[in-house]
């Protein structure tokens, strides 16, 4: 519980209606997109300016109050959960697009701008911001930068960090700091911007973001390849990349999701297929034509039973909608769905899929997965029930085996969702100990009182 005068001071800073203390409101800021994590904050603060955030952090720092930055609260790693109570600092009311510069091909936004609102505004100008986490209808720009999010387009276009050219960040001390600018090139000093990109709200609060943009691709084509063998599907992805073709998107849908989608919204998918690979190429019309012919050939050579090419934009849209409904298809499937976010080198995809099969056999758990195959980033999921303690413990063990398998292939713990609370117990195993120590020192220096999103990323000493 916070002292009443703290609440009063917060009300002075952001105005009374922007400070929420009712238990009902605290409840609605206690969760994120994960199934199992929840914790009530003591207060929710809804600032509208960097200056308000600065004063809030200063107050929190002086009084050692934990502050959890939050955008839309739809991350899937426990990142925005106020696990130590204190203040949830929510940016959803800072949602102005400040500038879209066609000539300079950059845009500057406040952190609470929702990605899809940004996309729609850019499309009007013929511009394109490629990082496309599949939560684009809800996630905020601040949240995507803090998580360094990526999505299907990242095969060809890269993840969030490849687009951030300028940030404004408020430090725990309350100092407002400007990093980078509006130029695409910038070689002045350390790349501090990257320290905050992907920092999961533990180093500072991002209050302004400048990203570079590219022109909206003129043409695109979507394909759906049907495979009877998942391992062959994985190999096909590696084969395409090895041939020097980089599709805009390469996504993987397994038999479980195919069947669930057909149950939920029938669209004539092959329910007997082992997996589907969805691909898109984009660029100039001529390049798209040439590339898609080559991709279809490689898919067939790699063992695709059939390759369907979307005949128009509507059909293409239907395929991609199906892909994004995959998440719901999986998460509605069991009491507790443990879904992970490992990424492996792209030439190890087939091997990884094989290993997953072996783990499934050994542990007796069905392993479902769906993911960004073109990035080697799969989301293996295990269905269990957190209330069944014995089974849940076994499920956790099986998940550990999946992590081990990914790491042994040169992969990483998290491709895009971040560590948060969900994966911190594996963190030290996946990280060079010297690097981990450096991270801890950086955190100590930037946030000496450990007020910013405490309890995240790595296990605390003595915990």
């Amino acid at each position: 519980m916070l002292r009443p005068e703290i609440i009063t001071q917060l009300q002075e800073i952001v105005g009374k209606p922007a400070v929420l203390t009712a238990k009902e409101d605290l409840t609605s800021y206690s969760y994120d997109g994960t199934a199992t994590w929840a914790h009530l904050p003591d207060v929710v603060v809804l600032p509208t300016t960097a200056e308000q955030i600065s004063r809030t952090l200063k107050l929190a720092n002086e009084n050692r109050i934990p502050v959890t930055p939050r955008g839309a609260g739809i991350n899937v790693s426990g990142g925005s959960i106020p696990i130590k109570g204190g203040i949830v600092l929510c940016t959803t009311r800072m949602n102005r697009i400040l500038e879209i510069s066609k000539g300079n091909m950059v845009a500057t936004v406040e952190p609470g701008v929702v990605l899809q609102d940004f996309n729609l505004a850019l499309a009007k100008e013929g511009l394109f911001y490629p990082p496309d986490p599949q939560s684009f209808l809800g996630c905020t720009m601040g949240g995507t930068v803090a998580e360094n999010a990526g999505g299907p387009y990242c095969v060809k276009y890269g993840v969030t960090k490849q687009y951030v050219v300028g940030l404004e960040v408020v430090l725990a001390s309350g100092h407002i700091m400007k990093l980078g600018g509006v130029t695409v090139k910038n070689r002045t000093g350390y790349e501090l911007m990257m320290l905050f990109t992907g920092s999961e709200g533990t180093l500072g609060v991002i209050t302004k973001i400048t990203v570079r943009l590219i022109p909206l691709p003129k043409a695109s084509k979507t394909m759906m390849a049907i495979f009877d063998d998942m391992v062959a599907g994985g190999q096909a992805v590696s084969n395409i990349l090895a041939a020097g073709v980089v599709p805009a998107k390469v996504e993987f849908v397994d038999n479980f999701v195919i069947r669930r989608i057909e149950e939920m919204t029938p669209m004539g998918l092959p329910v007997d297929a082992n997996c589907l690979i969805l691909l898109q190429t984009d660029g100039s019309p001529a390049a798209v034509e040439a590339e898609y012919v080559q991709i279809v050939d490689i898919l067939k050579e790699s063992g695709a039973r059939e390759v369907k090419v979307a005949k128009d934009a509507d059909e293409a849209m239907a395929y991609w909608k199906m892909r994004s409904a995959g998440f719901a298809a999986v998460f509605g499937a069991a009491k507790t769905v443990m879904a992970e976010d490992v990424a492996v080198p792209r030439d190890k995809l087939a091997e990884f899929i094989k290993k997953l099969g072996e783990i499934s056999e050994r542990t007796g758990f069905f392993i479902q997965y769906l993911g960004h195959a073109g990035d080697g980033n799969l989301h293996p999921a295990i269905f269990t029930d957190i209330n069944n303690k014995e089974e849940f413990a076994r499920a956790e063990k099986a998940m550990e085996e999946i992590f081990e398998a990914a790491l042994s292939l040169g992969g990483v713990l998290s491709g895009e969702h971040g560590i948060g609370l969900e994966k911190k117990r594996f963190f030290s195993r996946a990280m060079d100990p010297v690097a981990l120590e450096l991270m801890k020192q950086i955190k100590k220096m930037v946030d000496p009182n450990n007020i910013l999103n405490p309890g995240k990323i790595w296990e605390e000493e003595g915990a």
Partner: protein
């Protein structure tokens, strides 16, 4: 302290309660969230509050009720939910559980429990109010006045249409025979709804007139009452809602079709079976009743199958640009979007233009707009922007509730755009 029986209604929708996997996509679609940008506005947040209540972590408080009530039940969240979780079901059921546990709050208890079920008395009270309105309140432009005592509970200073000097029930006979020779042999019961009866009787006259001219016999059963939407959907009073439902089911027992010109009424009456069927008998009766209900545009297009030539504009609409607003209850609740557009596109003497976001909620939602008039206005302002973008002279719709809101909105914006019921547009 809180026994499980208290959550009886919510438990009927356990699947929806559990189905939400918290992806938060509803934030993009929710009209209330878009204005407030706080989590308790949106389906995910409301559902989580109900889950917390069931888990014993929250209690029935004023704050809980307020957050639960702050929903227009527009169903946009459900329509776009990847998990197909129907959170509005949870909201209605949770309101009902609260009423069971704590009773109905003032002024709901007077108005909804006592007045609305008594149609005649309600009419007299409205009449009384309209009399006061004439004496004490200044007239504003045209037929629009600031509101009087009874409706000022709804009004909070908004512009709303005047109570009709004569109600529909006083103007039309019970049985209205076809006025043309080529009788269709179809006889329908006309459900007039409170708004058409008391506020927009000319719409009702038009409905009867139009149908009888196309060979339909229209009966206006005198025993019919309020549809019950504000009572069981808005206030969560299922017991009173059941009485009203039974009254209407009985009043229309002899008809194959129940035609209504109010999307809210139609959809609420179709929802009797979902929320009010507590016995096998009611289950059967409400199911059968739901099958008879036809929105007027659906009836004209799908049942009567009138040719395009049947639709002509009234003289004052000729040559005008007309746009259409989809009522939530018509569109997402009943799936009717094609029929009104077919009618509008058939009218030769008008220019029909589609509104951007035609299907966006107008923010009325009955008692929602009483309690949360400021949010309601902001939602309506976005609607106004859509209307303005079309350059239309007239916006038509098929729900007197929406009309009410659109009139207020156009007045607030000093907009010359005229608001009409689609039937008023037809000659």
């Amino acid at each position: 302290m809180t026994s499980k029986a208290e959550f009886e209604e919510v438990k009927k929708f356990e699947k929806d309660l559990g189905q939400c996997m918290k992806c938060g996509f509803c934030t993009f679609w929710c009209p209330v969230y878009q204005e407030e940008r706080i989590e308790s506005s949106v389906a995910r947040g409301k559902n989580m509050m109900v889950r917390a209540l069931l888990a014993g972590d929250l209690e029935y408080t004023k704050e809980y009720a307020e957050r639960l009530n702050k929903c227009t039940l527009c169903m946009t969240c459900t329509a776009n939910c990847p998990a197909k979780a129907n959170i509005p079901n949870i909201i209605v059921a949770a309101r009902a559980d609260k009423v069971k546990a704590k009773g109905v709050a003032f002024p709901y208890n007077i108005v909804y429990r006592w007045l609305l079920p008594r149609r005649k008395l309600f009419g007299n009270v409205v009449r009384f109010a309209s009399w006061f309105q004439g004496i004490f309140l200044p007239k504003t432009q045209g037929t629009i006045r600031h509101l009087s005592m009874f409706l000022s509970a709804l009004g909070k200073g908004r512009y709303i249409p005047q109570i009709a000097p004569r109600f529909l029930r006083q103007m039309v006979p019970m049985v209205n025979k076809p006025t043309v020779a080529n009788e269709t042999g179809i006889r329908v019961g006309y459900f007039t709804g409170c708004m058409t009866d008391f506020v927009f009787p000319e719409v009702g006259k038009k409905v009867i007139n139009f149908l009888t001219r196309h060979g339909v016999e229209v009966v206006v059963p005198r025993e019919q009452g309020c549809c019950g939407a504000p009572v069981f959907l808005g206030a969560g009073d299922l017991a009173t809602g059941r009485k009203m439902a039974d009254t209407n089911v009985k009043a229309f027992a002899d008809f194959d079709y129940v035609v209504a010109d109010c999307a809210t009424c139609s959809s609420a009456m179709k929802d009797y079976v979902k929320f009010l069927a507590d016995t096998p008998e009611r289950q059967e009766a409400y199911t059968k009743f739901a099958g008879k209900i036809k929105d007027i545009t659906e009836f004209l297009v799908d049942v009567l199958k009138l040719p395009p030539s049947a639709y002509r504009a009234v003289p004052e609409a000729k040559g005008k640009k007309v746009t259409w607003h989809d009522p939530c209850h018509l569109n997402r609740h009943m799936g009717i979007t094609r029929q009104p557009r077919e009618i509008l596109k058939s009218i030769p003497d008008i220019e029909y233009v589609e509104m951007p976001n035609a299907d966006r909620c107008c923010g009325m939602a009955g008692s929602f707009s009483i309690y949360f008039y400021d949010v309601s206005q902001k939602i309506a302002d976005k609607k106004m922007a859509g209307i303005d973008a079309t350059g239309a002279d007239i916006v038509v719709t098929d729900c007197p509730g929406c009309e009410f809101q659109l009139i207020d909105t156009t007045m607030r914006h000093d907009s010359p755009v005229k608001v009409m019921h689609i039937m008023e547009l037809l000659e």
